[in-house]
Amino acid sequence: MALDVESHYLRYGPMVLRRCRTLLRDPAKAEDAMQDVFVSLIRNEDRLRDEAPGALLLRVATNVCLNRLRGERRHPEDAHEDDELALRIAQADDGGGDAESRTLARSVLGKLFGTNDPLAASTRSLAFMHLVDGLTLEEVARESRLSVSGVRKRLRGLKGRLAELEGV
């Protein structure tokens, strides 16, 4: 049965938009991202049978927004402490270096962490949930349907990437 977009938007749309606004800090970009979140939901509606839509949509919104932040650099005067961290996280699994090595790194990360799945919690979004949202590792794990050790392992990998970026 086709997803009832209107009823899902009525219940979850404002929450998704608030999430996108928090991450992107740009009303127009946030609205655009919010629509993309629901498009992902339409294209993967079978996932709704498995878990509460709220957590799923918040995760997808985080993924969508972090993907948009990747490569984006704000003006220093617009910068916010959390923005800086979000940007670093967003860029962390890019792999650095030339385009070829970045693509390779992304591919490896995708295989390791399932980041090709639009609805899965990407490592970046896990990091954002923990470091910016302030969720504990246990909460991140529960909201992402992962084990705590799985979350810890992924974040350890990302921390390495962040450390590399720090050293550049």
Partner: protein, 274 residues
């Protein structure tokens, strides 16, 4: 569960609490932490409810859902194999008759309701068959009328006269930066689009721009056969709900053509011209 009481309860969990989707144990834990912060779950629920109401007023469900479905349909179409093969097969024939290829590709676009663009400005001329649909926007002032081009600046209080020409059947409407859709011609939404009379047809009354921000974008929607005005208005509502409403085309069924002309809004209000 280990908690760090120095940290505020994350918004993520507050959203989930407001939705009523947290399991009982987690919900109780969040309420306890809120109490420790001197905050009440009821206050949080009220803040969320107010924000929800404001957002749904700003982005109403019906047009926003329509815009999302439209975007999903486009994404789905984009994921399908492209029609490139058709065009490539056409190439040898086109080399023999370039004009035929141009015409065929143009028809292919219009059949999909896709708009051809001139540069990156959406001032659009699609129709291949004469007479071509035309949309004119004039600014009336004490010294006369000035024809405005796509991208011209305008301000609240400007008096705009719309005119159209061509053949077939048309609807003229506009969307603005406040996401409002205004039907200019015909005057009612519940019938069919009227037939176009020969020559330039000025609308019976001018239109005064309000204080909507950013832009006012006028559309002429044209078809060779009669169509429901509501079809055009619905497409405009769906587009108005999109963040990219300033530049994107209306999603119309096959057989429609569209012309748009956008005015960039400036903050300065013009003197009343009555």
């Amino acid at each position: 569960m280990q908690q760090d009481n120095k940290r505020h309860v994350p918004d993520w969990l507050l959203e989930r609490l407001a939705l009523g989707e947290l399991d009982a144990e987690t919900a109780a834990d969040v309420r306890r932490r809120l109490a420790a912060e001197g905050r009440s779950p009821d206050d949080i629920a009220a803040v969320v409810a107010t924000s929800n109401r404001e957002i749904l007023e700003q982005l109403p469900a019906t047009p926003t859902a329509a815009a999302i479905r439209q975007r999903a349909a486009k994404a789905e179409a984009g994921a399908r194999p492209a029609r490139r093969r058709t065009v490539m097969w056409s190439l040898p024939f086109a080399l023999a008759g370039g004009l035929a290829l141009t015409h065929m590709m143009l028809r292919q676009h219009t059949d999909e309701g896709v708009v051809s663009r001139v540069g990156d400005r959406p001032e659009i001329i699609i129709a291949k068959d004469n007479p071509e649909p035309r949309l004119y926007v004039y600014r009336r002032s004490a010294s006369g009328s000035q024809r405005l081009k796509d991208g011209a600046t305008a301000a609240r209080g400007d008096l705009v006269q719309l005119a159209y020409g061509g053949g077939g059947y048309v609807v003229v409407l506009s969307i603005d930066g406040a996401r409002k859709v205004t039907l200019h011609w015909p005057e009612r939404n519940d019938g069919d689009a009227p037939a176009v009379k020969a020559g330039e047809n000025r609308l019976p009354s001018a239109y005064e721009l309000d204080d909507a921000p950013a832009f006012e974008r006028f559309f002429l929607i044209h078809a060779k056969t009669p169509f429901s005005v509501a079809t055009a208005v619905e497409a405009a509502r769906a587009l108005a709900a999109q963040p990219s409403a300033r530049n994107q085309s209306l999603a119309l069924p096959p057989g429609f053509e569209q012309i748009s002309l956008a005015l960039e809004k400036t903050h300065a209000a013009k003197k009343e011209l009555r």
